[in-house]
Symmetry: C2
Subunit: 294 residues, 2 copies
C-alpha cells in the first residue's frame, strides 16, 4: 500500500487551491490533496469515482482542446516510449471515470509541463479546474491497441447557472434546510430538429421495448443518435442515425449495455428493433456504435 491509498479522496474544488494554482512537482500535488497518486494519472478506483486526473504527456492518444479534453484511460502504456503495448480494460481508474459519468461527479484536471498542448504550463503542474465526464467509449489507438477514451467538458459558467441556491430556513417540521445545495449534472438529454421528426414517426413508441410513456401533455420518448454528435465521433443529425427510445433504453444504449446488429437484431437476443416505413437505419452507424461502445 502506498501513501496515496491512505489519504481520503476529496471531490470538487479545494478551498485553498483555486483554479490556476501552481505546483512544482507531484509531491506538492500530493501534499495539497489536489492529485494524490505519485505515479498514476487517474486518482480513483473500481469502487469510487475519480477525484482528479493529470495530463502529463504519458499517452499518445490524448487530445486537449482546452475546455474539451479527450482523455485516454490508464493501462497498456510503455512509459519509456509512451506507446500502447497492450489493450486497456475497464478496470481501476478507467472504471472510476465511468462512475464520474454515471453519477455526475466532477473531476479536477491538472496539466503538467510535459503534456504537449498550448494549455499546459511551461514548468511544473497547474490545477486547471473542474470538468464533467460527458462521454466514454473505446477505440483503437495509434499503436493499434484498444484504449478507453473519455470526453471531459469544463464546468464553468454552466455549473454556476445550474447550481441552485437553496434558501436557509427551517421548514415546518423544524428540519434544518441546507444553506446551499451543490447540484451537479449527471446527464443531459439533447435534442435536435430531426429528433422531433423521429419521435413523431414512431409515435413515441420505444424501438427496443415497445414502451410509450404517457404523460398529461402527451407521450414522451427520446431520440438517440447512434453514432454520437460532437468531437471526435461527428455523427450526422439525420434520420438514418437516430433511434426512438424510452429513457431507460436510451441510457442502456449510450452506456453500450445495449447494441444492435446490422440486421436490426438486438445483440444477445432474438428480438429485432421495431421499425416504421420511411425510417431506414444506416448499418454503418450501428457498427460504429458496437465497435466503440459495445
Amino acid at each position: 500500500m502506498t501513501a496515496t491509498d491512505r489519504r481520503r479522496r476529496t471531490y470538487g474544488e479545494l478551498p485553498n487551491y483555486p483554479e490556476g494554482s501552481f505546483f512544482r512537482n507531484r509531491a506538492e500535488l500530493h501534499a495539497a490533496g489536489v492529485h494524490l497518486p505519485l505515479m498514476a494519472g487517474i486518482s480513483g478506483s473500481a469502487s469510487e469515482a475519480a477525484d482528479s486526473i493529470i495530463l502529463s504527456g504519458g499517452y499518445e492518444d490524448d487530445e486537449d482542446h482546452g475546455d474539451v479534453i479527450v482523455y485516454t484511460g490508464q493501462g497498456g502504456n510503455d512509459p519509456a516510449t509512451k506507446k500502447q503495448v497492450y489493450d486497456q480494460t475497464l478496470v481501476r481508474g478507467n472504471l472510476a471515470l465511468v462512475r464520474n459519468w454515471m453519477e455526475g461527479v466532477p473531476v479536477r484536471v491538472v496539466r503538467g509541463a510535459r503534456h504537449d498542448s498550448p494549455h499546459s504550463p511551461a514548468v511544473g503542474y497547474s490545477y486547471d479546474g473542474l470538468y464533467r465526464v460527458e462521454d466514454c467509449w473505446h477505440d483503437v489507438g495509434r499503436s493499434g491497441f484498444r484504449i478507453w477514451r473519455f470526453r471531459l467538458r469544463k464546468i464553468g459558467q454552466e455549473s454556476s447557472r445550474l447550481a441552485f441556491r437553496v434558501r436557509e430556513e427551517k421548514d415546518r417540521y423544524g428540519t434544518e434546510m441546507p444553506e446551499r445545495s451543490h447540484v451537479s449534472i449527471s446527464r443531459i438529454i439533447r435534442t435536435t430538429a430531426v429528433a422531433a421528426k423521429i419521435k413523431q414517426m414512431h409515435d413515441c413508441v420505444c424501438q427496443v421495448c415497445g414502451t410509450r410513456l404517457e404523460t398529461p401533455a402527451g407521450p414522451y420518448a427520446e431520440a438517440a443518435h447512434i453514432r454520437p454528435l460532437g468531437t471526435p465521433h461527428n455523427g450526422p443529425d439525420t434520420l438514418d442515425n437516430l433511434l426512438c427510445l424510452c429513457p431507460n433504453d436510451h441510457l442502456l444504449f449510450d452506456m453500450g449495455a445495449l447494441t444492435v446488429e446490422d440486421d436490426l437484431t438486438i445483440t444477445g437476443t432474438r428480438r429485432k428493433l421495431r421499425t416504421v416505413p420511411g425510417h431506414e437505419i444506416n448499418a454503418a452507424y450501428l457498427r460504429y456504435h458496437r465497435e466503440h461502445y459495445g
Copy 2:
C-alpha cells in the same frame, strides 16, 4: 381565424432581430415574426410548442428574476383587473409550453413596458433572448384559482457551450452532412451528494417498478427530489425528500404522470413504493408533489 394563425411559427433566434431589439407595439412584433399573436401572451397551440411568449404585466403571479422567470400560463384572467377569476387548464398555450419542456424547444421572451420588473423596457417592447422551459407545475395563485406555472431559464453561454459544431463533409454514402447542428437541451438530470447515498441504499433498484438497469460499469438509477430543489419550491436535499427511480419512472414522476399517496401507495394502483430500512419518506413532500404536479 386571425392573421396570426396564417403565419407559420419560427423557432429560435430570428436573424434580423438580435437580443435587445426594440419594437414600438405588438403590430411591429407581429410584422417582425418575433411574437405573432396580437393579444395572447403565448404563441403556441395544443399541437405545437410555443415559439415566443410575452411578459406584459397581464398576470399578477408572474415572477421575473432576469435570467430566471416564473411565468404564469394563460386563461382565467380578467384583463381589466389582471386578477384570476377562474382556474387555468392544461390547454392551448399552456400545453404548448409543456411541449417546449418535453421536446427541449427554446422560446423567445419579449418584455413589455407595462410588465412590472427592473428588466422591462421603459416604453414599447424588447426582445430579450431565448429561454428554456425547465419545469412546469400548477399552483393556487394570489386570487385563489389554479394557475399553471413555468420556470424559464435563459440560454446563454450554456447553450453555446453545448451546441456542437458538426464538421462539413460528405460521408461515404455521399449524404450531405449538416454544416452545423443545432442541439438544444431537452432534459438535465441533476445529482447531489445525498443522491449517491439514496442510490446506494436501494442498490439502484427503482422504488416504483423494481427495475435495476445493468451497465458494464455497474447498476444505474437516478435520485428524484420529491419536492423539487430551486425557486420557488426550495425542497431540501435530504434523504426524506428523495426517491431512487429508473429513468422512465423519474420522467413520469417529474411530469406528474406518477404520484404517491401518504401511505406510499402509487396513486391509482394497489402497489406501494419499495422501501428499505433507514429510508423514511416525508409525507409532506409527497403531498407537495401531488398538489403541484399531479
